[in-house]
Symmetry: C3
């Protein structure tokens, strides 16, 4: 059974990646060709010529104005996917047409709708406004992951791993030691996980970017909209400094860490990451430091998750995982994703683990194919 | 279902490749050992010792006179495949014998018969006499293709791709624009595709080799004997120059482009290519130019077809292709190959597309495994 | 059907390989973590954290005293496999415990028991005392083999291959030419194969290490305890020199060549090799020469067996091998291994070939998966 949720918007690219060169990316197993018209609109269509399946992103295929010319036999397509010329005859077959995909640019991302295109308009695209908003500065990137998307979801929903896997960057003892609170909004399909550390060591990631020298009050508030957009609202302030009664928070530093989780195939994932901040807005040194540091952290995850993917594919089915309190958010996310995946295929959702699993109960491993 | 035609002669090698070193090539999934006896005869036998399957082409296996000595335990075989010595005992088991294959040298090629050896003699070997004939000079090579043979057949039967994939070498706009005529001789099992361009640009491949500077009359006459031998009779002459009434053609340049298409496995192919000419016979510069140019063109095809093979294996069954007039010859070739493959296995041929598919009709993709 | 024998002791490592760094090796398909406690005891436990399966051998996992800390979320385990700490909560789930394996150090090896741990104590560990005994000097190593264990068993049981695959090192014409005698002790589960050469060429391996310059009396006495430990008792002496009547043998050189054959997976093997001698005990030059020579010989086998593994996986089932007198010992070993494998799984053993197969009888190939 597939674990990929269909009838969903996914981040396919940053807007900056799509221009007047043919650009291809596989999203949920579908090879999609992206390019920008002369008027600047992003288009998305199947990356396979209708004639003999040659990839339209493969040289010597190329753009001519607002048409794509196949590099094998010259079949030519317009921005709406319709074929406008074929070799050796003037009549173009009526059925010569590429599948197109709904696309939408928002918050610096190119979103694409995978599934039944008629459901695109009624399906909400989650927001991450800080990534393209005045008052914020953002660094971002994408790392290819040779692991199924659910392993990245597990990773991001349980930040206790920062202490061990990302020590020296974003992890300190307090992250693993501080209990979390988890809330699930089943109607809206959102999972919240919070960890508020009142008096914690300041990791280098925040010490060097904010200039704080002593211990900090550190809040981590996760807001995950399965299956595709994860936001970590991160608040750093000197110990004891809290927001004002009116809700303003002038003496704290705010960082919005955003991950777009896009399945490439059943076992590989596009790991889009962005870090937006509301301080040192024009400081290139801070931007360089945060970009480099976050990329290092993401690559530490990539190494670990690629190993886990190999472990999962190499081991027999029926393996039992052991979950504890820190996994409550991750298990809730798995439950919502399984429900969405079943809806997308018309299957009934599998029996789901409860939102809060008692510590030490072993449950069947999720995410096996 | 296999797409490989059995009970057929295939080109296994150029004669120059087989000598007094053990030489192995896999043909239609069978690993075959080739070597030349001291008298100069080519032999072909299974490349697996009967004892423990060690490949007889693998060092330290070696020839001693007209015997092959296995490099693992020393089992020794004569040119007829019979075992003549084994270790540790003087009696050689009566059943110790390698499978041998009918072989025949002709037109510079070593042909091998795959299938029921009793049918070899009655099965015709197609000819390409120019490759080893006075009055012609030939350049040739072989490129390994990580794609099924049918993709190469498709490629060669539809030369409109020259304009796009081989622009700057052999393609000009006229190739794609000129309609073709197709004839199928079902009884003889031959497909003919002709494209006669009365007034065309001369591509560099022919301009530099013939010395013609202006526009040309260019004829492309394909003669394909499925599944294994493809000939392109190519005629180049200054615009308006036609053969004489008596059939002689002294003022034109003739090039015979020959491809031998030999399946290595279900998804890989030996792509033998040769270019014979009836002009500049002793001009090494022309030979070097044609060898280098044709190899470049073949490698452009290899890149494209290797990509297509990956596309085909990565996509679900049931994909529908769209065929147009230019595909008439290729579809006819597929039909004959499907019939031959079914004959070789004793299965009934699958329902075949008609020889001439109306433009724009989608038909099931061939050549899926 | 698996060909791996369970409920057996296997060599997992040399004792020198296991220390205060986390060390992982896959034995019979199970990933096992080895480390030495501060008191020097070797421990063996599953190399998968119970939480999310992260390999405990993977950085940044690490030892702290006599505990292993998982590098992903910090689950911490003692030397008995029990979990002693988890993140975010003080209560450690009662069921958090790694599978441990019986281990035993003997004859320079770390042995591990694969299968039902309750059967470990009653199962004998075969001995190779010379590898860690006064009066003997040993060189040893391990080469990874991309081939199933049965191919290595075949190889070692039939030394006629020395003449062909290892000519110039340990092979001479007499090895292949001299008939063998084979004895099978079914009750003890041991196969003996002997080849006594009264007057033979001295191969470089023995000429350079012993200093003998002329022809030799060379005895090869194989003692194999399937599935895991192979010993070749090798006796070299000047021609005509025999042991004394009282059984002592002061004028001969003795070499014990030991192989531990440990399946890594169904199709890969750990090939442990050791060469012990009772002469030139302190001569580093002789040690270096024998280490280098034997490693070269092992690598010649590795190349050949890796090729054979590819041949076996690439060919259809039902292939028939041809066996002759030299294969008697190997066929007996296969028969015992098949019986042991069936016992380990509770299946009935497959119909076995007779211990002595008449020369020239073809039998189904063993060792197909």
């Amino acid at each position: 059974m597939t674990s990929i949720v269909r009838n969903q918007w996914y981040v396919a690219a940053y807007g900056r990646e799509v221009g007047r060169e043919l650009f291809s990316r596989t999203i949920c197993g579908e090879s999609i060709l992206f390019w920008r018209t002369e008027a600047g609109e992003v288009t998305a269509m199947s990356d396979r010529c209708v004639h003999r399946r040659f990839p339209l992103s493969q040289a010597p295929s190329h753009l001519v104005g607002d048409t794509v010319v196949c590099g094998y036999h010259g079949f030519t397509y317009g921005a709406d996917g319709g074929c406008v010329a074929v070799p050796g005859q003037t009549r173009v077959p009526r059925t010569a047409r590429l599948k197109t995909y709904p696309v939408f640019e928002q918050d610096s991302f190119v979103w694409v709708f995978i599934g039944d295109a008629e459901k695109a308009e009624a399906t909400a695209i989650p927001r991450a406004p800080w990534l393209a908003q005045d008052g914020w500065t953002t660094v971002s990137g994408m790392e290819p992951l040779a692991a199924r998307a659910s392993l990245l979801v597990d990773n991001l929903m349980d930040l206790s791993h920062e202490t061990y896997l990302h020590g020296g960057y974003i992890g300190t003892p307090e992250v693993a030691n501080t209990p979390i609170t988890t809330e699930v909004d089943d109607a809206a399909g959102v999972v919240y996980v919070s960890r508020h550390m009142a008096d914690a060591e300041c990791p280098p990631f925040y010490a060097k970017s904010t200039g704080i020298t002593g211990r900090i009050t550190r809040w981590q508030d996760i807001e995950f909209t399965p299956p595709c957009l994860y936001k970590l609202h991160s608040r750093i302030a000197p110990v004891g400094v809290l927001p004002d009664d009116d809700g303003t928070d002038p003496d704290a530093f705010h960082v919005e860490v955003v991950y777009a989780i896009t399945p490439e195939t059943e076992s590989t994932t596009h790991d889009f990451w962005a870090v937006a901040r509301d301080f040192a807005l024009d400081d290139e040194g801070v931007s360089d430091f945060l970009r480099e540091s976050n990329r290092t952290v993401v690559l530490q995850d990539v190494v670990a998750l690629d190993v886990l993917e190999k472990v999962l594919t190499g081991e027999p089915d029926g393996y039992q995982e052991l979950s504890i309190n820190i996994d409550t958010g991750g298990l809730a996310a798995r439950r919502i994703i399984a429900r969405l995946a079943a809806e997308g295929t018309g299957e009934a959702a599998p029996a789901a683990p409860p939102a809060r699993t008692p510590a030490g109960v072993r449950s069947p491993a999720a995410a096996t194919r």
